[in-house]
């Protein structure tokens, strides 16, 4: 498949990897390059957290203008770009079908905000992606609607739909890696060329933390089979399945409202406004960073650490091990930038 620059996917990936090796440190590098980057000597995975204490103001919902600005801040900083469009042009290409995998299982209180998704879609369109080539998706239509999304199957507009939509469903091929033996959504395997992961920062009663990698439990047909042992190695194994590993492009994490206890469902008493957007191309590094944020909040509220309550997010370390190499959980190899 040729992209908008006339390069095929292999050339593009090679270019990205080479760019990383040359850059050596936490330079801008999108597109599947995370695996190459963390293996490069001296390379660091960059995680950017942009926060705005006035994001909500006096409202119950975040200010759309401030969300757009925050997104721009985050991605421009990540890409070291002076304008907000160029990073998206490097991230995706006009001919690609771009999937935005959101997280809507917790309903309107603790799901990916519609306003953030709208901001991403706007930037993608400005970067040359046709609206019809943008697919916002999650497991079910019902969950999307409950989270505030308006379903759209119109092929001329941004499509918003669940895997349970008519004529979508799960791919007939069963894919396996370690403990993961799953069929994946056709939206990922057959519709989308690449995926931007748009998860939400949450505590998780089984896994400890759910952010980027755990969000892939909304991609497969049998997430219930992968929850044993704190979802470990289930999360790491699932993320190794080729369509997930190969099509994953970037994480834009919704950390505007997070929860430090009671997740993954919405429990208002354990939710707080972090007022942030986090971005990274390394799903392990951003999960590790999110974990630390949740631990700090738990400590602040007098709660025991996740390890002390028996739910350490150990899948994060497994995702970084030699069998998975999905990214790094070594804080010395994570370049954390807060803006």
């Amino acid at each position: 498949m040729k992209n908008g620059n006339g390069k095929n996917r292999r050339e593009f990936l090679k270019e990205c990897a080479l760019g990383v090796l040359v850059a050596g440190t936490a330079r801008f590098s999108f597109a599947d390059a995370n695996v190459n980057r963390v293996n490069a000597v001296g390379a660091k995975s960059k995680v950017v957290i942009a926060r705005d204490p006035s994001l909500y103001g006096a409202s119950a919902t975040p200010d759309p203008a401030r969300v757009r600005k925050l997104l721009d801040q985050a991605i421009q900083n990540f890409a070291e770009s002076s304008d907000p469009i160029t990073p998206w042009k490097k991230l995706v290409h006009p001919g690609e079908v771009v999937g935005l995998k959101v997280n809507t299982i917790a309903g309107p209180g603790l799901s990916t905000h519609v306003v953030l998704v709208e901001a991403i879609c706007e930037r993608l369109k400005q970067a040359g992606v046709k609206p019809s080539n943008i697919v916002v998706w999650d497991r079910t239509n019902e969950e999307l609607e409950r989270a505030g999304f308006t379903l759209s199957h119109d092929p001329n507009r941004v499509r918003i739909l669940g895997t349970d939509s008519k004529d979508v469903g799960y791919d007939e091929n069963v894919l396996m890696f370690g403990s993961a033996k799953s069929r994946l959504s056709n939206l990922l395997t057959r519709v989308c060329d690449c995926m931007i992961n748009v998860p939400i920062l949450k505590h998780h009663g089984g896994a400890g933390v759910t952010l980027a990698m755990k969000n892939m439990y909304g991609v497969n047909d049998n997430p219930n089979k992968l929850h044993a042992n704190n979802c470990c190695p289930g999360v790491a194994d699932l993320n190794m399945l080729p369509p997930i590993r190969n099509k994953f492009r970037f994480v834009v994490a919704d950390a505007m409202t997070g929860c430090f206890e009671g997740g993954p469902r919405f429990a208002p008493q354990y939710a707080w406004r972090y007022n942030g957007i986090m971005v990274a191309s390394d799903p392990v590094a951003i999960d590790f960073t999110g974990w630390q944020i949740i631990e700090r909040k738990r400590a602040e509220r007098g709660l025991k650490s996740l390890s002390q309550v028996g739910i350490p997010p150990k899948y994060i370390a497994v995702a970084a091990d030699a069998q998975h190499r999905l990214g790094t959980d070594d804080p010395n190899r994570i370049a954390l930038v807060e803006v």
Partner: protein, 172 residues
């Protein structure tokens, strides 16, 4: 209504009522019950027609990985309904039917009481916690959880009233 005034109201007016939640009959089994008050059965509350019910094997489709905790505690089914208070505040009410009261207690006790307007009353067979935007109580083998999706000065009191109505239904 300030947080302090809510506290005053809660302890002054609701305390006797919430204690009544904590005293109830013990269910040996989990018969099918119409748990949910209908529209206007409790002042200000409107119920959506649909009640969704999840069996243990499909509970993950509703609450993802949290399902494991409930399965371990012996959940038999979960029913959930949407409500609106005064056509403004969206509230989801879940009823977890466990195999026995111990299962409901195990879940209830596993959750921190921090921030509760009325914290747990240890020593009672049944128990309840009211927060600014949520209410959780257990009644025999049932665990009821209400979550409001908007803030409102009235919602804590309103959820409490709805909880009392549900408690009566669960006592039958």
């Amino acid at each position: 209504m300030t947080r302090r005034s809510i506290h005053r109201t809660t302890f002054g007016i609701l305390l006797p009522a919430i204690l009544s939640l904590a005293v109830g009959c013990q269910h040996k089994s989990a018969p099918t019950i119409n748990f949910f008050p209908q529209s206007n059965e409790v002042a200000g509350w409107t119920k959506a027609p649909e009640v969704r019910t999840f069996t243990p094997d499909l509970l993950y489709t509703y609450i993802d990985g949290d399902a494991e905790k409930y399965i371990k505690a012996g959940v038999r089914s979960v029913s959930t309904a949407d409500y609106k208070f005064k056509d403004q505040v969206q509230v989801v009410v879940d009823v977890y039917t466990m195999s026995n009261p111990e299962g409901a207690k195990a879940i209830f006790d596993s959750e921190p009481a921090m921030g509760a307007l009325i914290p747990s009353y240890l020593g009672h067979e049944d128990d309840a916690r009211l927060f600014l935007q949520s209410l959780i109580f257990r009644k025999g083998p049932y665990l009821v959880r209400m979550v409001a999706y908007q803030e409102s000065p009235e919602i804590a009191q309103a959820m409490f009233d709805l909880g009392l109505a549900m408690e009566k239904k669960l006592s039958r």
